[in-house]
């Protein structure tokens, strides 16, 4: 059945009338996503290529039954947009916007604890369930439908690995980019748990990078909670300490957060790790054929 986004998704795009929101909202629709509404305060009553625009998320929920939100509004307003979606009863909020202040995410993350809400992002490529729905900026044509779950902190690296899987004849249930910021709405563990519970998913690939300890935590979770095989890939084996590698979160501080330490933590828990995207895809293929 895939996870997060599928044929039941009824998407509202916050910021649909902006150039990026429009481009990707329509692109998502052309992939088959049921895009039911856009929200731009002050532009209620307009439409974007036939998609009705409302002044508020609440109106989109009431009038066209939106159940999933994609946030494309500029960074200073993104946290507000996410609170609004949660307040309107949306359960899945996917924030593509990059540059959201970390302190706002800190409070938002605390706010959603204990609520039945899932936030993906910010600064992420979104989620794609091939053949069912695409919410975000992942190029759907790279991927095939199948049984592999893919979760990643990065965008283009995910495409690289998806491409390698496709070359090997393998397809995906859902591809999820959780984002590279210091604080994101959903961690690896949250998404791994969804894949574990998903019938379509038979194997999971998880793509980490230097910095933080999410990969180490995921390793412990995989050993304790997952019955499905998981293959890892970590970017940044040769990154120097103390330098931020593009993603705000991707920095080795002291001896913590190195790719080698993450690889060892995963391998100690029985997760095989590729040191290049190609090698990771080959391990996945090996397991799929076994």
């Amino acid at each position: 059945m895939a996870i997060l986004v599928d044929t039941d998704t009824r998407l509202v795009v916050q910021g649909l009338t902006g150039s990026e929101g429009r481009f990707h909202g329509l692109r998502n629709r052309s992939h088959g996503t049921n895009v039911v509404a856009g929200v731009t305060p002050g532009k209620g009553g307009q439409d974007v290529d036939g998609i009705p625009v409302f002044d508020s998320v609440a109106a989109a929920v009431d009038q066209v039954g939106a159940n999933t939100a994609m946030v494309f509004v500029p960074a200073p307003f993104a946290a507000d947009a996410m609170y609004e979606a949660v307040g309107a009863g949306i359960r899945i909020v996917i924030c593509i916007t990059e540059g959201v202040p970390a302190h706002e995410m800190l409070r938002l993350h605390a706010f959603i604890q204990g609520r039945d809400v899932r936030i993906i992002g910010p600064n992420c490529p979104g989620a794609l369930s091939p053949g069912k729905a695409n919410v975000g900026i992942i190029p759907a044509e790279i991927f095939r439908e199948g049984s592999i779950g893919l979760v990643s902190r990065s965008g283009t690296l995910t495409y690289q690995i998806g491409h390698e899987l496709t070359q090997l004849g393998l397809g995906c249930s859902t591809i999820v980019g959780i984002g590279g910021d210091p604080i994101v709405g959903s961690s690896f563990i949250d998404v791994l748990a969804l894949f574990e519970a998903d019938e379509q998913t038979e194997q999971v690939v998880f793509v980490g990078e230097i910095g933080g300890d999410e990969e180490e935590k995921a390793a412990a979770f995989i050993e304790a909670e997952m019955s499905k095989p998981v293959v890892g890939y970590i970017a940044g084996f040769t990154a120097p300490p103390g330098k931020t590698m593009g993603h705000a979160g991707a920095i080795i501080s002291g001896s913590a957060g190195t790719a080698q330490a993450k690889k060892e933590a995963l391998e100690a828990r029985g997760v095989r790790v590729g040191t290049t995207p190609t090698e990771a895809a080959q391990i996945v293929a090996e397991i799929a054929r076994a």
Binding site: L106, G155, G180, T238
Partner: protein, 362 residues
């Protein structure tokens, strides 16, 4: 804080010292840590000494930051040194206070050798910091003097307020000292703020020490290119932080030494490619360049045009290896093939591209 004055030349330092009374401490003002170890903090007992210290410290290079400003303050008599910080704990997703009365040494060392001496306390960001947080820190830290307890508790609350007000990722007071007559003072502090929040903190954004950064990194920032200088000979350009990091790895595994990490970002229009190449080729160590592009939002045809434009404008003769996949990759490859330039080659995969560029740089 201690009473002090800012000085930008030795004469100013002398005047400030005379005004404050001796002994004074002359401190380098730079946006980095480790200045004490680098010799950027000196004690002076007289006006002549203060001037001499200022002369010595001004112009000093501390971790790539040149000292242009000094802080002159009355030297404090130190009875005890403590440590207090508030960091952004990514793992717990909460602000984290750390406090120890075993100051004066590296905090990571305290954490490793006597973890019980380091008090750690998370704050719920929705609850905020309350007096009980401060009490917990001083009690658990073993501060016994009531006067000290009160002063430290006040500093704890103010530090949290500053953390929130400046949207900091780190606020550290090290050392937090107690004078022989029981006064608590913050002798030195370090703040790191969130780049994403700078748009609403113009006063902090202004402090950015553009001059001090690596000249190539400064040029990159000016042009809006995400660039990190490394030590090798292979220029690396990718789109997206993860793929670029992965490309740096793969070039290394192929036996090469990357000269840089350069992320074109999500857009990657032709001008962005030209800007990035300008930064990369400014590094004279670079002997060959590898473009590893997986088009999503980025269109490979745009990247191809950018590469040709840059070669044309800059008269680039360095060998360039290009790997294009994803959005409009075929068109991109055709544009490059049609140009038929002798120093430009394409490879079908990331691994082949890495091997080829390492060969060319060798």
């Amino acid at each position: 804080m201690s009473d002090g004055r800012l000085a930008t030349d030795p004469a100013g330092a002398r005047a400030a010292a005379e005004e404050l009374g001796f002994p004074v401490v002359v401190k380098a003002q730079v946006l980095t840590g480790g200045r004490g170890k680098a010799g950027g903090i000196k004690l002076a007992a007289s006006a002549d000494e203060a001037e001499a210290c200022a002369h010595e410290i001004l112009g000093m290079d501390i971790r790539g930051h040149v000292v242009t400003r000094l802080w002159i303050e009355r030297a404090s008599d130190i009875a005890r040194e403590y440590y207090l910080s508030l960091t952004f704990d990514r793992s717990a997703k909460k602000p984290l206070f750390m406090f120890t009365t075993q100051g004066g040494m590296d905090i990571e060392e305290v954490a490793a050798t006597s973890p019980d001496a380091l008090v750690r306390l998370h704050v719920d960001p929705l609850e905020g910091c309350h007096p009980w947080h401060a009490r917990r820190l001083v009690y658990d830290g073993g501060v016994e003097d009531p006067g000290e307890q009160k002063q430290i508790a006040a500093i704890v609350t103010k530090l949290y307020d500053a953390f929130v007000a400046t949207e900091a990722m780190l606020c550290e007071i090290n050392p937090l000292i107690v004078t022989p007559d029981g006064e608590v003072r913050a002798l030195d502090s370090k703040f790191t703020v969130d780049d994403n929040a700078l748009f609403r903190h113009a006063d902090i954004a202004e402090l950015r020490d553009v001059e001090a950064a690596d000249p190539l990194e400064a040029l990159a920032r000016e042009k809006g290119v995400t660039y990190v200088k490394l030590d090798g000979e292979v220029g690396v350009l990718g789109n997206g932080a993860g793929l670029t990091m992965s490309t740096v790895d793969v070039v290394t595994f192929a036996g090469g030494r990357p000269a840089n990490f350069c992320d074109l970002g999500g857009g990657g229009d032709a001008q962005g490619v030209v800007d990035a190449l300008e930064v990369i080729t400014r590094d004279e160590q670079v002997r060959a360049i590898f473009f590893n592009i997986f088009g999503g939002i980025t269109r490979c045809d745009e990247v191809a045009r950018g590469i040709l434009q840059a070669i044309g404008e800059m008269g680039l003769e360095l060998p360039i290896v290009v790997r294009l996949d994803g959005t409009n990759a075929e068109e991109g490859r055709r544009i490059l093939a049609d140009a038929a330039l002798p120093n430009l080659s394409t490879e079908a995969t990331m691994l082949d591209g890495a091997r080829r560029v390492v060969e060319l740089a060798g």
